[in-house]
């Protein structure tokens, strides 16, 4: 327990000392918000968005983007680099279990992701007076489920791919289309109908749907499919992550 605490605290410090990771988690989403705010700030609500403005829809979508970035980039790159550089090798000679190593990552990246979302929501409130009709706790629950279900992807990629470099490239190649097609970085309503169909096969879509729904105050029962898919990913993620973990 003591080692988990120490390790988590250490990883948090290391996360914040790494400018690239901190930028993509905390600053980049804000930049996206301001760009979209500039473009769509005054556009009337898109059809099918329950009378919410573009920015109101954007905040939960961008939160999903943060989840995608941290889950697939931050975790993948950190774990793959740790393995390639022999950092895990050094840890392997101690009694510390892989579970603790992974748990510390999960806690740190989760907190950073939450911080990223908090910044988004605060900026949205401050500059665009976004409308939030949901229940904060319920939103937090959805956010937690979405995050944890995505972290598994990061661990699996890091475990399966041979080097940090390939892990980073594969994660990027998977992530970018996912961000666009899921409607996380770009309002899905603005895309052609055929492309909207593709989004059903994109895991991040379910995070976007769930967060947008909870943000708009819809009940969980409207989102059983999303919850089902994400819960499935979470379980698979834990099982496969544990199986694919390699010290070296």
């Amino acid at each position: 327990m003591k080692s988990l605490l120490k390790m988590t605290w250490m990883e948090a410090k290391l996360f914040l000392r790494e400018p690239v990771g901190a930028f993509f988690t905390l600053v980049f989403p804000l930049i996206m918000l301001f760009i979209f705010g500039f473009i769509y700030g005054s556009v009337p609500p898109p059809p099918g968005s329950d009378g919410l403005g573009a920015i109101d829809v954007l905040i939960p979508a961008l939160s999903a983007m943060v989840i995608g970035i941290t889950g697939m980039m931050a975790i993948t790159i950190t774990m793959a680099t740790y393995r390639e550089n022999g950092i895990l090798r050094r840890l392997r000679t101690t009694p510390v279990s892989p579970l603790i190593v992974m748990a510390a990552q999960v806690v740190v990246v989760f907190v950073m992701t939450a911080l990223g979302m908090l910044l988004l929501v605060s900026a949205g409130k401050l500059f665009y007076h976004v409308q939030f009709d949901g229940n904060a706790l319920s939103l937090l629950g959805g956010f937690t489920l979405g995050s944890l279900s995505f972290f598994g992807i990061g661990f699996i990629l890091a475990g399966l791919l041979p080097t940090a470099r390939t892990a980073q490239i594969v994660a990027m190649v998977l992530l970018y289309p996912m961000l666009i097609l899921s409607g996380a970085a770009w309002p899905r309503e603005l895309m052609p109908a055929t492309i909207q169909k593709v989004s059903a096969f994109i895991p991040l879509t379910y995070v976007v749907n769930l967060l947008r729904g909870l943000w708009a105050g819809q009940p969980w029962s409207d989102h059983l499919l999303d919850v089902g898919v994400l819960a499935g990913m979470l379980v698979l993620g834990v099982v496969i992550s544990a199986k694919t973990f390699r010290w070296e």
Binding site: M10, R90, T93, T94, V96
Partner: protein, 307 residues
Amino acid sequence: MDPILQVEGLHKVYGATVAVEQVSFEVREGEIFGMVGPNGAGKTTTIECLEGLRKPDAGRVRVLGVDPHCEGQNLCLRVGMQLQQSNLPDRMRVWEALDLYASFYLKPADWKELLVELGLEQKRNTPFSKLSGGQKQRLFIALALLPNPQLVFLDELTTGLDPQARHAIWELVRAVRAGGKTVILTTHFMEEAERLCDRVAILDHGRIVALDNPANLIHSLEAEQRVSFSLDDGLSPALEKALSSAGRLEVQGERVTVHGKTDRQLPLVSEVVSLLTGQGTPFRDLRTEQPDLEDVFLSLTGRALRE
């Protein structure tokens, strides 16, 4: 007293490469045991089988009475390891690394003391990537000592260090042993093995080609000692005759070299000096050359160790 570590018939193959073949030895409590050999001799493979990090293909390994491969968890509480290839995150500071690694053990050594003992006090806030090679190695020794181990493995501790840093590390290793710990180390510096180790196993192509204490290894060579000196007045026939009794002579201008055998009562040098002074011959630049482990390796394998 039971040996602290036993290896019998250790065998490890990677594909078509036989990395370690029929390696057997024992390590006694309190000794500094060294494995020397050229690159690819199988030192790391052997030591990592002892550490439980690699699984032997055949052979029996007992470390502190247990099989390291099956009881790694138990063993890593009592054994300290420094690996040839391992790292810490670039931005982790020295004190943070020690503090973190100390939290993995129930009764760790006091890392603040280790910081001082290993001369890292000045560097406590330095990030890992900003440490020099020698400082990184000191930090890795400190990490290896955190569990208060009975046995410490050090793999290529001084490779890449300058001679001064290397000597400082030797002092640290001696201090570790003086603290009652057993040390097993690998190196490809024969001088290091000779100066630091109580017993040395010489490895080549995955096999142990010799195992003994450095003095015996060198003695077993029966290699010749050499003494050379310069004479201003040249070699007189009387002196030549007297010196010949000590060994074969080689004369180059005013420089004279005496090649003697090792199996002698007196050291060659004292015999030569007493002959010279007995005849009242003035001499200068007297030099002696002893065979060392380097010569032992050369004579065992027919190759020089140096790349």
